[in-house]
């Protein structure tokens, strides 16, 4: 009865990894916009945003390596940043920014969790080593979970 489709080909896997890259680029671009457009960031927001930029950048690089191993193309940050810019709303306060960061981290975690699940359900063989693929995605998922925790900790401190 389930309609869940396991990842069945290199093409489909590469497409999902591309989506993962774009999500990381959205995180990075939005965090950079928050840093640039707010003169006086409250409390520990600035280090939180800087850590988010660094994490997104490193996660993107690891996903890009997998895409490269599948002999597919990644999605350039320079293509995504203007799309984020076009819809970015300036003048955001602490609550707006922290909530946005929470959405970013939760989304990245959820995507990686679903991707790991879809790969586990698949018996297809891929152009990348399955164990290596799983290890990378699980490490990224754990780092995103830590990112969510960092945001919620800051939210609790604020209360």
């Amino acid at each position: 009865m389930s309609l869940r489709q396991p990842v069945s080909s290199d093409h489909q896997l590469a497409r999902l990894l591309q989506i993962g890259v774009v999500l990381q680029e959205v995180v990075e671009a939005r965090a950079r916009k928050h840093l640039e457009s707010t003169d006086d960031l409250e409390g520990d927001l600035e280090p939180l945003l800087e850590a988010a930029v660094e994490r997104a950048n490193s996660h993107r690089e690891r996903l890009e390596t997998l895409i490269e191993d599948l002999e597919a193309d990644s999605v350039a940050y320079e293509d995504i940043e203007p799309l984020v810019e076009a819809q970015y709303q300036a003048d955001q306060d602490f609550d707006d920014i922290i909530y946005d960061q929470l959405c970013n981290a939760e989304t990245a975690y959820k995507f990686l969790d679903d991707l790991v699940g879809a790969i586990e359900e698949s018996d297809a063989s891929f152009g990348v080593d399955r164990q290596h693929l799983r290890t990378v995605l699980e490490e990224l998922r754990e780092a995103e979970a830590n990112g969510v925790e960092a945001v919620t900790d800051l939210m609790e401190e604020r209360e």
């Binding site: 309609l3 489709q5 989506i19 999605v75 989304t107 995507f111 679903d114 879809a118």
Partner: protein, 143 residues
């Protein structure tokens, strides 16, 4: 998008196409599953208060079922638009169908921050062709 949401979306679209309760056969055809599977899921949706199934007549969605089906359709539209507008995927309809079970609505909401989508979405979805009627594929788009 989870399985229940995919069924709600399918029932909503079949009802739009036929303007009458959706038969489990048509729901099954739309989703590529057996009528028995469709029947079983429709029973679960009914238990959850999302659909009403009248034997020999078909399935209609409740108000809550319609609300959830429209949310699911909006998520699907975001996936199609993202594939076409951002990744320039020529076969965006086929790929959206393959990927929808892996893309959650929270993920789609983030993707929505970088695509263009009309405010009337999902009313502009063409059930027959399985695509937003306002979404024009660029002939230059490549895979």
């Amino acid at each position: 998008m989870n399985t229940a949401d995919q069924y709600l979306k399918a029932i909503y679209l079949v009802q739009q196409q036929t303007d009458e309760p959706a038969s489990t056969g048509r729901i099954a055809d739309r989703l590529g599953v057996s009528p028995a599977s469709a029947n079983e899921m429709v029973g679960k949706l009914q238990e959850r208060g999302l659909a009403d199934h009248e034997k020999y007549k078909g399935v209609t969605l409740t108000d809550e079922g319609i609300r959830q089906a429209r949310e699911a359709l909006r998520t699907y539209c975001i996936i199609e638009r993202f594939l076409l507008q951002v990744l320039e995927v020529e076969e965006f309809r086929a790929e959206a169908r393959q990927l929808e079970s892996v893309i959650d609505e929270t993920v789609a909401e983030r993707l929505d921050t970088i695509i263009e989508r009309e405010p009337q979405c999902p009313d502009c979805f063409d059930a027959e062709n399985d695509v937003c009627e306002l979404l024009e594929a660029d002939p230059e788009a490549s895979d």
